[in-house]
Structure formats: C-alpha cells, structure tokens
Point group: C2
Chain length 545, copies 2
C-alpha cells in the first residue's frame, strides 16, 4: 500500500525557486577574472538563470544534452548550475587544470554541445576548439566589450546570449532521477571516467550538507568556496547554499593566501571549504605577515577535504584562527560527501590534544551513506577503531556506474561500491582512512599505513612534503621507504627524521630508509602520483637485515 503523499520530484529547479521565495536577498559575492568584486543576490541569479534557460531553449538544447564549462567560481558559473540543469540539460564542469589532451578527451567523450568558458581559458579554447567535435558554439563568460580576440568558430558572448531573453521560464517537471550534472574523475590510471549525478542525488546530498551533522550550513553563513566549481560541483555547495540561503563568496581565479585572506576579511566569511594545500598557503601567508586571523576574521569553521588534513593544519586553525576544522571525506563517485568529523557531546570537554586526535579521523557517515570495512575475502570487519579493511559504501548519492559504462560494473553483488581506501571505523562510527588499497605496505602479513607515516613526517619542521612507498623485502615482503622534500633553507638527516618518527608511529612501522627528492609527482588536480613514484624507485634496494 502506497502512502498518500504528493508526488513531487526533487529537482534542482526547485532549489532555485525556494531561494527566490525564502531568501531572495541573500548575497553572492564573486571575484571576477576581469578584476572587480561583484555582488548580487539569489534573486539576480534566478532571473539570469531563467534568461539563460530561455537562451538554451532558443539554441535548441535538448533534455539530457551535455553543456560544458571551463570556469572559475563566480556568479555566472552559478547561473549555469541552475539554468542548465533546471531546463533539463546536463551541466558538465571541466577541470581547466587538466592537460589539454585530457580536456579534449573529456569534452568529446561527454559529447558536449556547447562550451561556456572564462576569459582565462581563451587561448586554451582557441587551441582545442578544432578538436572538440560535438561543440556547436563556444560562449565566453563575459560581456561584449571584453570579448577575447581569438580564432574560434561560433564564438558567442554570454551577456549577449542572455540579454533580451525573458526572465520568466517554466521549469520542466523532470524525472528526479534524470541526469543533472557530470564530472570526470581524474584517476591516476587510464582515461578519466564520467560520473553522472541526478537531480535526486544532488538534492539529497545538499540536504545532508545543510544538516547539523553535515556542515550545518545556514542562512547565517558567509561561505567561501575555495573548492572549485569544476570539482564535484564544489562539493555540492552551490545547491546547498541556495537551499538554505547561505551567502556565497566565490574567489574566482585568485587562490593565493593573500587574496583568500583579504576576501575572508572583507566578506566576513564564517565557513570556508578547500583542500589542505590551499589552507597551507593561507597559513603560510598569515605566518609570513604576522597576521592575527582570530581578530581580523570571523571564521567559524573550515571544511578540509580532498586529502587528509595534517594535524599541524588543524591545530593552527583551532589555535590561531579560533576556527573549528571539519575534516570531511568523499569522492567524485560520492557527490562527493561521505563523512564529516563532527564531535559528539562526549567530546565537549576534550583537551586540544584529544580534539586533534579526533580531528585526524575523517568522521561519521552522513545519513544517506552506509559504510563498512571488509577483509580481502569480503567479510565485514569489526567497528573497533583498530581493524582496518577495504572501505565500501552504498547510498542514494553514490554512483552505480560510470558514463557509458566505462570500467564495467563498479558495485558488488549487494550493491556496495569499493572506495579503494583502507580504513578503520570505531564504535562511535568515526571512520579513519589509513591508506589507499594500492598504496598499503604489507610487512610480515600486517599492513603499514603510508598515510599515517606521511602525516607524521610532515609534522617535522624541515619537511615540506613526504611520501611513503613499499619496497620489496626478502624477509618482510615489503618495508616502507620515506621520500621527503625538504623546505628551502632547512635540513634534516635520516637519523633525525627517524628519531622524530620513533615517538609518533609503531616501532615496526619505522621506515627502513629515507630518500631525498626535489619534488614529488602530482596529477593535474594535485593528487600525489604514487604509481610514478614507485616507478621512479623501482630499482631501489633496501639493506636487508
């Protein structure tokens, strides 16, 4: 027997319509490519998103067709988020930091019909346009006076495109499972694979962000999105902010420490979201200039995701910024949010050290994400905070396959998705990633966590970056090798580093050797490429004890 409730689909257009009636005057502040800071409201975004939807309709864009973007975080990108998905097409945000060949592959694989691009990427578009086979026109996200002087067939101007269009648009009532946006994962191997989000998954994920156990996002927040809108929908924040009326602060292309600090100060940012690297630059800026962020800013919480938050980073935010770190974890395949490290009442009186121990964990699952750890045979492991195993997830905002079925089936028989991570889960549900499955070091039948070792090593004042890989060992099967990049002007001997680690990790985890390098290899999105590192150290031999 079915319930007798209204059959109203969960649609991205309904988020915008909600914003237009429940908090139309909440603001979006954007730093633009052109330079000046731009302020508008959700009412403005709504009006222009509807003009855009009319323009796309005039261009005969069909439901389900992909519309590409190469753009920074800014109000026009917001308009695309709502206008494109709202009218039934699929917003395909492309990471402009990828190699040109990857961008070409992605746009062709997705069969993008139109490509909206920021002026920063004019030269890139000029270079790639001839090879983007399906793109019917390229639209520069600017006004007529600033159109770039490039040779591109069917070059259009965004402001001209929407100018004169009606700001009335009847959003279609779509199937909530319809595709709304897509994002390619930049795996460390093979071609990027497309994840196709639905209206339903985006709405449920956004609700999760607005709950207190998520980011507790609310209309009281002024939220700085350092995480790019081309990266998993900026962790879903544009939708979530429109849902609850949070003020958005969009930094455009300027992501250096000084620019971010200034923006946080002038736009009274309460919540900021980004990857550790960005926050390291911000802290570096504060350090160098001798600033007092606890006084200058009204920063309340910082979401750190994309990679594990180093303990020193968390500590600096807690002590110098007077801001609480929300360690978060997810993947493109998960929309992306899986867990947030929110404290429980029992942690209320925790000391700083205890809080930092807790913050080192990736957190508890949001409602909507089921999580378990299993051994090599798939048997579920105990939630005791000690047993570590393959982390599997399940839920309505988790992918069930990649676009066009690339990579084949990605769920097991019971519908679980293997995250590729190795993790522990404790009795309170806090999950902690200990490694990537492919990076784990197997020593004497036990696992050594390369991530724990790396996090401990970067705590040393002379270490800029660290990586740990497993090196074959006759007796132990594998033993860890610590590879470090030393900060300019600093020094740290092998003995000193190992001594430093001795009090921080289990004795049998201590690396057998330390290698010094100028730089570590990264992907275009900043992920450490351990595969390249393993390749590089293929012939490395450890002294066999």
């Amino acid at each position: 027997m079915l319930g007798l409730m209204q059959d109203q689909p969960l649609l991205i257009s309904s988020v915008l319509e909600h914003a237009l009636t429940a908090h139309p005057r909440s603001e979006i502040a954007s730093r633009t490519v052109e330079g000046p800071l731009h302020h508008c409201t959700y009412a403005d975004i709504g009006r222009r998103a509807k003009q855009l939807a009319n323009a796309l309709t005039a261009l005969e864009v069909q439901p389900g067709e992909r519309i590409g973007t190469l753009a920074w975080n800014g109000y026009r990108h917001m308009e695309l988020y709502f206008g494109v998905s709202g009218m039934g097409a699929v917003l395909h945000t492309i990471n402009p930091r990828l190699f040109p060949e990857q961008i070409e592959f992605i746009a062709n694989h997705a069969e993008d019909q139109y490509l909206f691009f920021e002026l920063s990427f004019a030269a890139l578009v000029e270079q790639l346009a001839p090879r983007m086979k399906t793109v019917k026109a390229f639209i520069a996200l600017t006004d007529r006076n600033r159109m770039p002087d490039i040779e591109v067939p069917n070059l259009l101007c965004y402001e001209d495109l929407i100018d004169g269009q009606s700001s009335d648009f009847d959003w279609p009532v779509l199937d909530e499972r319809a595709a709304s946006s897509m994002c390619y994962t930049s795996g460390t191997t093979g071609n990027p694979k497309g994840v196709l989000f639905s209206h339903r998954s985006s709405i449920l994920h956004s609700l999760g962000l607005c709950t207190s156990e998520g980011f507790g996002l609310s209309s009281a927040d002024s939220a700085l999105l350092v995480v790019p809108m081309f990266h998993v929908n900026a962790w879903g924040m544009p939708y979530a902010a429109a849902m609850c009326g949070a003020r958005l602060v969009l930094p455009g292309p300027a992501l250096d420490g000084e620019s971010l600090y200034e923006l946080m100060r002038t736009e009274q940012v309460t919540l900021a979201l980004g990857v550790p690297t960005v926050w390291m630059m911000l802290q570096q800026h504060v350090e160098t200039r001798g600033l007092d962020p606890a006084v200058d800013l009204c920063l309340n919480r910082v979401v750190v995701g994309g990679a594990a938050a180093p303990r020193t980073l968390v500590e600096t935010f807690e002590t110098r910024f007077d801001a609480r770190v929300l360690h978060a974890w997810g993947m493109t395949e998960m929309s992306p949010l899986g867990t947030v490290c929110n404290p429980l009442p029992r942690h209320r009186d925790a000391s700083l050290a205890e809080r930092l121990d807790l913050q080192a964990k990736q957190g508890r699952a949001l409602f909507g994400v089921s999580m378990k750890i299993v051994d090599e045979e798939g048997a579920e492991l105990s939630r005791d905070g000690k047993a570590s195993g393959h982390l599997l997830v399940k839920g309505p905002w988790i992918a069930n396959q990649y676009f066009r079925g690339e990579g084949g089936s990605i769920l097991d028989e019971a519908g679980w998705f293997d995250t590729g991570d190795i993790a522990t889960i404790d009795a309170d549900g806090y999950m902690q990633i200990t490694d990537r499955a492919k990076d784990v070091i197997k020593s004497g039948g036990e696992w050594i966590s390369s991530i724990d070792l790396e996090n401990a090593a970067v705590g040393h004042p002379a270490v800029a970056e660290a990586a740990v890989i497993g090196i074959p060992h006759a007796k132990w099967q594998e033993r860890p090798l610590l590879i470090v990049v030393i900060k300019p002007g600093k020094k740290a001997s092998k003995e000193e580093l190992l001594e430093y680690l001795e009090t921080r990790v289990a004795k049998w985890w201590l690396p057998d050797d330390v290698a010094y390098v100028e730089a570590l290899p990264h992907t275009a999105t900043g992920k450490l490429q351990k595969m390249k590192l393993r390749e590089q150290f293929r012939d490395y031999r450890l002294a066999q004890e």
Copy 2:
C-alpha cells in the same frame, strides 16, 4: 537521460540502521507510566525494534497492514515507530484523548490489526475492545508483572511478545512511496480523516528538521518531546532524532509544569517542543515557585507549534529562560512541518521588541514546501507582508488525499493543497497566519483577523482566553464580537478591554461588543471550536449604528 546514481530507497529502517552505526550510544530518556525514569540507547531501541519486527512477522502481519497504538511518549513507542514501519506495516498512532466513539471509529476505519496500548488506557481498551472489529489482539506495553486485570479477548504482554525473538532482522527493501504511518486529523466538523504518510515523505521531512533552517537538530541536542507521539509522529522528531543522533527525552504521561521543569533540569534539555498551552503551564509553574530557569536549565530553543505563539509567551522564554523561540507552523496533512521562524542575518542586531515582532510570524518555508497566497478567484497575491489570502501549499511531504479518498479531491488542478488558513507572506518569505478562512470576519469588503484580535486580547492581564467571531451587521456585513474568559479573581470591563485594544489593532477592527463566558468550547485536542461558539451566539445582535 537518467543519472547513474544508486537506486537506494529512502526508508525508515535506514534511519534506524544509520543510528546504529553513526551514534549507537546516544540516549533516549523516558518517564514511564510505571513511574521511574528509563534510560536506553539507540542501540537498545534498534535491538528491540528488530525483536518486535520478528514478533510481528510471527503474528503474520502483512505489508501495509495498520498497527494501532494508544501510547504516551516513551521508548516502547519509539520501538513501535521503527519496528512496525521498518518491517513494512503501517504505524497508526491514535490520540487517546479523543472521545471513545472517535477512537472506535478511527480504529475501525483504519482496520487496525493489532493495538498496542499503555497501561493508562487499560480501562478504555476494555470498554472499546468488543467494538474494534478488525483488531486480532491487544498488546499491553508493559512486562508480565504489571499486566492489567481487564476483560479483553486476546490480551498480550509486550515484553513477553518480543522476549526471546531474535535481535537480527533483515529489513525489507520497500518502495519508498510505501505507507509508513498514519494519523487522523481531528477536524472540527465531520468524521476524522486519515493522513497516510510514506517512507519517502517521512525521511524528507526529517532531513528538513535536521537542517539549520529547520530545527537545526543535532547530536548535541537533548530534545524534550512534549508534543505527543500520537500527534503527527511528534512532529517527525523520533525519526529526525534517530537520523542525527539527538538525545531524546520522552515525558510519558506527566505533562504538568512541575514534571516538565524537573525533566528539563535533570535531563539537561537543550531543545523542547510543544503547543502553547503546555508552555503556559510551565511558565505558570516558574512564576508560582519563583524559579530561575535561566540558571536551572540549559534550554537553548523552544519550538512552539500547533497554535500561534502568544507574544507574552515568546517574551518570557527569551527573557526569563534565555531560550530562543522557534515559532513553527504546519498541519497533519503536512507531516506536519511547513514553516519555522528562524531569523536571517539582518535580524542579528534586532531589539527585543523587533525580535518579538518577527517571532509573531510563523516563519519561512522549509525547502520542500512551496507556499503561495491567493485571492477568492485563485489569483496569486503579492508577497509584501500586507496582502492576505488563502494559503496554498505543495511539496513531497504534503498529502494528496485522505485515506480511502474521504472528502474527495483535496488538491486543485495545479496540485496545490488549500490549508484553510488566511496568511500574509513578506518579501523575505516570512508567512504569518492572520485567520482560519472560515473564521475570518468580513467587514465592509475587508477582512478582519480574528487571530490578531484574540492575541491582542489575551495580552490583557485579566484575560485567560479570548475568541473573536463575526456577527451579522446590516451595514458592514459582519462585525467582530470579542468573547472572553476572565482569570479567577480578576476583572475587566468592556470599556477597559476596548481601550486596551485601541492601541494594539487598527481602529476599524475594534470589536463592537464584548461577551463574558465561563469557558470556551474546545475539541479533544484542545482546538477552539469556533463553530460551536458561532452556534452559541447565533441569536446575538449587535447594536446597529
């Protein structure tokens, strides 16, 4: 083109499973009929809900069958919430305060298969059992030693029923639109009508409660549910609390001021939810005893719903309890939450008087509830805070018909549900109820709000309760008559009352006369019965000017 996300239904069982992994140790404190305070965890609730599900399966309860309850707020009722809905049956919570004939009608109309009842209602069950045609057994919510001595066929004991059952149960993967629970509305006319909630509507509604723009419910809360679990699922709180890990405090049958105050103090309640009447009793207790709630309690916010929150009530909570009032509005047909009066950043520096003005409004719609006001012809009215009209709503947790189609179609052609309320909506989306459509007074072509007049009148120190109805008038069509109940030992002349109102409402709204009564007629759920009042004053004549 559909998105490629997992097809995971939104089910009540998944809320429980989430609680069991994300916050198994969060507590539920219950005051029991038997007397003592009972403490357990979500892990305990989960274990026993699964035992119950096994017991229901053994009783051959089929998917969609209704299971009735006559119970207070307590842990066993929680177990029924999750066990019954989780295993696919429909939890039918019956209001024990209804007249026995209404309870009989409701149980028969719903075709309840089993009836779980609290010891308080043993005599009632004994009286009604022979007339409850579909009920196969009556289960007393107690243990063997406390079984009531009543003549009821197929009388079972709850603890015996679940004892020995396995605490493993594989929840069925239901259609998320399947019915999960039902509640009858006690309309002021005709037979009660059943509202049939679905798993989907319950989950979406709960997510709304957990968002910062809802109640901001979180694991940091200790939430006192004064609103009964037999009244629209206690405003959805049992699900929402399990979703986010909030501690629940369930007061059982003791709802007097002293009991509630004591519970708030000992259980460190941060959030309390109930109707104005209950809060008036609590404030009376504080007044009489000369207590200092700001010191004794850690109450942070109070949700007032079910009827408009009088200004004096809001003020007392703000000033004497140091608690923020969340004025909320909804209906059984809306699961029930429609709006919450949360402030916007612009209200941050508001004075107490300004805050009270804002708190008088019912608030902004949650994401998921669309709202508009229309005139008599159905044309949408302006959101200017002035125009008032019929309040229509739409959304995934709003009913599309009553059980068995009673009352016929309840949506208009575009799918809007008429709430029967008259309201204004302002530019920031704040809605304020000005009247019930059937209670509005039409004077000279304009509307006079009986609710505004009543709220103003109860502000007078001598007035215990007030009602305003329209009386036919030759010239003006209708004019307001103020009907008051005076507090024991107090006095207020007609002239004094009208003078008091003069500075508080528009001059042309001033009642033409004042009538004094001993008591006002109410429904079993405490709603003012204006129809009876109009009947009572049918022959009343105003002096015609």
